[in-house]
Symmetry: C2
Subunit: 217 residues, 2 copies
């Protein structure tokens, strides 16, 4: 995207994710234009993207608010992500090149390195993790699938600040990735799908436990 519109997107996103704007708080285009330092035109463009990514929502009469997700919403998003990403893993198993598999191995090494420092580097872990999953989705060769997943993966990041990543969670993720790589190397779509499924489902429960005391759990 063009410079102003991209900047507007980045700044507004940061503004929302940083928590400077609280859930359900109203935002006006003028406000956002000021924050982003551009005019309302590119702001409107950026806002549309953020709406699409579910970070912002519109009231019935076009007023803009910071999205506020219920537990059900979060559960729904995880379920969709799981469905789509399992599909991606299945397809990727048949399509990943040797180079891509090597890339996955490298990324998972980086991920483990981020864990085992004296103090685990969560940001670095998240980046390696993101890249890892991205390689898989790309290898699925399904552009619309990628597009859909991008939205779902982005969204929960909002709450990342609330998350407390225990060292054991991080290590388990790394082990899952190892097994995924094994499944890919074996070109076994069923295996890949199954591993991805449990990987994400566990992530959901870890997340849910940290985020709030479930309704009936």
């Amino acid at each position: 995207m063009s410079r102003a519109s991209e900047q507007a997107y980045a700044k507004i996103r940061a503004h929302v994710l940083s928590g400077a704007a609280r859930p359900s708080e109203q935002l006006t285009e003028d406000q956002l234009a000021q924050i982003a330092g551009v005019s309302r035109t590119p702001v409107r463009e950026a806002v549309r993207r953020l709406e699409d990514e579910l970070l912002l929502v519109r009231s019935d009469t076009k007023r803009l608010f910071v999205a506020d997700w219920s537990r059900d919403d979060i559960e729904e998003m995880f379920a969709l992500r799981q469905m789509l990403e399992c599909h991606a893993a299945e397809r990727a198993a048949a399509r990943l090149s040797r180079e891509q598999i090597a890339q996955l191995e490298a990324l998972n090494r980086a991920l483990k390195a981020a864990i085992e420092l004296p103090a685990p580097d969560v940001a670095q872990f998240l980046e390696a993790n993101r890249a890892f999953h991205e390689v898989i989705v790309d290898a699925a060769h399904s552009p619309r699938l990628g597009q859909m997943l991008a939205k779902l993966v982005e969204a929960p990041v909002v709450l990342r600040t609330a998350r407390t990543y225990s060292p054991e969670d991080l290590r388990q993720s790394a082990r899952d990735h190892d097994e995924l790589i094994a499944a890919f190397a074996a070109r076994d779509p069923d295996w890949a799908r199954a591993v991805m499924g449990s990987h994400l489902r566990r992530a959901f429960h870890t997340f849910a436990r940290a985020v709030g005391p479930a309704a009936g759990e």
Copy 2:
């Protein structure tokens, strides 16, 4: 959406779907503004929506073109739709109200009526069919799922003019719907999923046969 932007969307969409603009043809915002009878501002808004719906695509340097789908693209979209809508059917089985099931029955009666006229009314069939699937997706109570499906269901419509609906295809659809209703009435998620799966998979093959001589079929 607001009036001008909505009108731009509708007119541009019609322009593309009618075939007045051929696949891969470049469109300029000025052109489209003239066609829609509004200024470029709402056109840009409409274009973003149509891009999102995959009817229009942008070159690497922001120039706008009418989308041209390969057979792989179409196959991909059907696969995604099948995955998502099977999920919707499964969830709907547990959530559909009695009223909604009655509504499905009514819609399927309308659908059958549209078939059996002296000359089948395809437009009416399509409308009843769309409404039928919409009820199911709504009942799944998964807003993002609905949003994703909307895109996928819209898209293939482009080629609908190319489709020749045989009477037998239409009748088979009606039978599938009957079985879906039975599965819902029995509150059987697995049954619902399975029926939806074969319903959509068959639709894909019918579609593929009509649209082009498959790569290796």
